[in-house]
Amino acid sequence: MAAKAAAAPVAELTGPLAALKDKFGDALTPGDFEGVVVNHDQLIAVATTIRDELGYDYLTSLTGVDYIAQNEMEVVYHALNTRAGGAPLVFKARTPRDHAVVPSLIKVWPGADFQEREVWDLMGIKFEGHPNLKRILMWEGFAGHPLRKDWKEAYYEQDTKPFDSRWPGGHHRRAEDRVAYADNVNFPANFDPTVYTAQADAAVYENFKNFYVDEHGQFMPKEAVEGGNGNGQFHEHLETDELVVNLGPQHPSTHGVFRMVVTLDGEKITHLEPVMGYLHRNHEKIGERNTYIQNMPFTDRLDYLSSMSNNFGYALAVEKLMKVTPPERAEYIRVIMAELTRICNHVWAIGFLLNDLGAFFTPALYAIEERELILDLFEAASGSRMMCNYFRFGGVARDLPAGWLETCRELVFNRLPKKIDELDYFLSENEIIRARCEGSGTLTGDDAVKYSVAGPVLRASGVAYDVRRAEPYSIYDRFEFDVAVRNHGDVYDRYLIRLDEIRQSLRILQQALKQIPETGEIQAGKKQYSARVPAGQAYGRVEGPKGELGFYVVSDGTANPYRYHIRAPSFINLTALGPMSVGQKIADVVIILGSIDIVLGETDR
């Protein structure tokens, strides 16, 4: 592939990339995709030019692809222009498989931090110049890089589904019976799990070395015991020390299994490092084993609070490859579902932010009541409240049942606007909320763009970037709505912007519910259990409730995706958690995390 691409003339570069040609002619190779392959030695310079001169100030997605047949690995970058909008600019770097090294772009876009660590962790591509290149989703005792094509999981059966053992001779046999437990435990060489201490924990336990435990189980500072008085007495004068505190992994404020290792000076945070991956299930590898349609219900389980949006993003990416467009009525149904999902997600986020603030469950339950009514609608249409699995390539799974639109109209026109106003009236002016939220966890617009933060967190920092407006997908160009923006970038603005967005969603819903054709097709073409997807690559993205949700799908023309990557907003937004929290009080870190609104199913994938 590399040889073939190298033979193509550089003159083929088009669009914004043409400007790069004069400057970096030799370092650029047009590929068999809409973008460019950049040589290693020039990668940082080209990226800097793309950022500064072409205006692509935001690195949205960074991922790797393992081309095992070519013995080559590829890093794929998608950069965005947050001011002008439009489609992402794609560029790639290639590196040999057995010695995969690419220069790190963390200096150009600090938002590359977690994404480069993820690619190192899962694909084993080293990023030269990354200051903290260690595993992020897997633990240190994990052998290998699971997204490489030659890596096999513990209960490996076959490279791709459907498995041959299921039919026609499918005598049931559990995977646990087929593979004995001990056979699937693998550690890297020189790794002893019995003496293992996690890297992040090491700092915590380092501090404990300064203490003895006395016969009553009390911690005694070593110096008190060793020092002159020897009776376990503390020194008279007060000594301060930095203290490392683990919030989580099991902690009510972390909204799942998630850990923040916080270094404290008194009550003030001097350093914060998020530790994640407790819910990691290698979703992308599962996705590459699955057939295209089989991935749809799996996307529900990413951000399990907004499964319809996840369906939407994945359907868009595959539809780009298949070149199908859903019929009119299906498009309206999709938009209605996606906007209802946004309302669901935001009332939930507001409710639980208030829980984090200590308003124990009263606001949360008022919010959940409305969410419950929307979930009833989802259940009536798709069959399930949360795991909707409702979108299909070129349409939706089934038509709306009788009476659905009436109930939806009643909610959208009469009930929800009133209830959102009530929620606003109930909370926004509350002095305690304002005192806690205003000014805490501030993130400037520049920083938000720098750290690749997306969604409400980005827009609360004054950056009016919304995929529905920047690169309208589906039929969003037909609706009148405003991109909600707030300018302070603090927790309070992130709360307010969610109310604003609910109101904008209601506006879109009201227009959609008026315009939707009463009857019509809901599926383009014939529904197939085995979708035929032509070879190619596509990046489909939607404005999910938590930010830009992107699906990067590479097809090789077979029944299963060759590469399936998710640009998860919950994961990338956490890049900014550390910078936002430094200098804040420990008590506020809980609401700062709450205001980002993460779902661990999507963070850890």
Binding site: H171, H172, R174, T291, L373, F426, I432, Y529
Partner: protein, 229 residues
């Protein structure tokens, strides 16, 4: 005034508190609010007052599209399984929890359209309903029974064919719209078959007539030839 925001908020809570009692009072002479009769009102888009449902004493009715672990439809009219063991459900199943053994004719060793064994591992099934959606024979449908907890997780949760099979009357009861569509499809198919049969019969009749005519034609010369002979 400092504190007015707090007081406003308290007002909302108070309103909700009072409303829950006021709403209850409306139903005092109608047999009380907390029974199956008013569950749709309590949970509907105009609901006010207490929203909670006291599961398991009360249960929310599930919509027709509700989906849980699949079941196999048994055709009570023809007294046979609808499943033909074509394997599409097993191929489309995302967690690969469907296992099918196809029946082979003991004499010719050719496949017979009937499953010999059919398993669904309910501990793996994600209730996505792709199997029901893509079944060309309406033989596998999603159930409404969601209370499946058991004390043992290995054998009781692997559902075999006997456990999975349910009569089509049950399917008709829980999926009235789908069932009506099926009956319509059947009627349509029957009509088409009848048309086809009629067309074939007409064709056959025409062919017979033609053949008879031909025979007659063929016979004629002999008749004519006879006198000549």
């Amino acid at each position: 005034m400092y504190g007015s925001g707090l007081i406003k908020g308290m007002g909302v809570t108070l309103k909700h508190f009072v409303e829950s009692y006021a709403e209850d009072l409306k139903y005092v002479f109608r047999g009380g609010r907390y029974n199956d009769k008013y569950i749709a009102v309590r949970q509907g888009p105009k609901a006010k007052g207490i929203f909670t449902v006291q599961y398991p004493e009360e249960k929310l009715p599930v919509p027709e599209n509700f989906r849980y672990i699949p079941f196999l439809v048994f055709d009570t009219q023809k007294n046979e399984d609808k499943c033909t063991s074509c394997g599409i459900c097993a191929k489309v199943c995302p967690p690969q929890c469907i296992w099918i053994v196809r029946t082979n004719d003991p004499k010719t060793n050719r496949p017979i359209p009937q499953p010999a064994e059919f398993y669904i591992d309910a501990s793996i099934c994600m209730s996505c309903s792709l199997c029901a959606e893509f079944c060309p024979f309406d033989a596998i449908k999603m159930d409404h029974d969601y209370e499946l907890s058991s004390f043992e997780r290995f054998n009781t949760l692997v559902f075999d064919k006997a456990r999975l099979t349910k009569p089509d009357t049950y399917h008709a009861a829980i999926h009235p719209t789908d069932w009506a569509r099926e009956l319509q499809d059947q009627a349509e198919a029957a009509r088409k078959d009848a048309e086809k049969a009629a067309a074939a019969a007409a064709k056959k009749a025409a062919a017979d007539a033609a053949a008879a005519a031909k025979l007659a034609e063929a016979a004629k010369p002999t008749d004519e030839a006879k006198p000549a002979a």
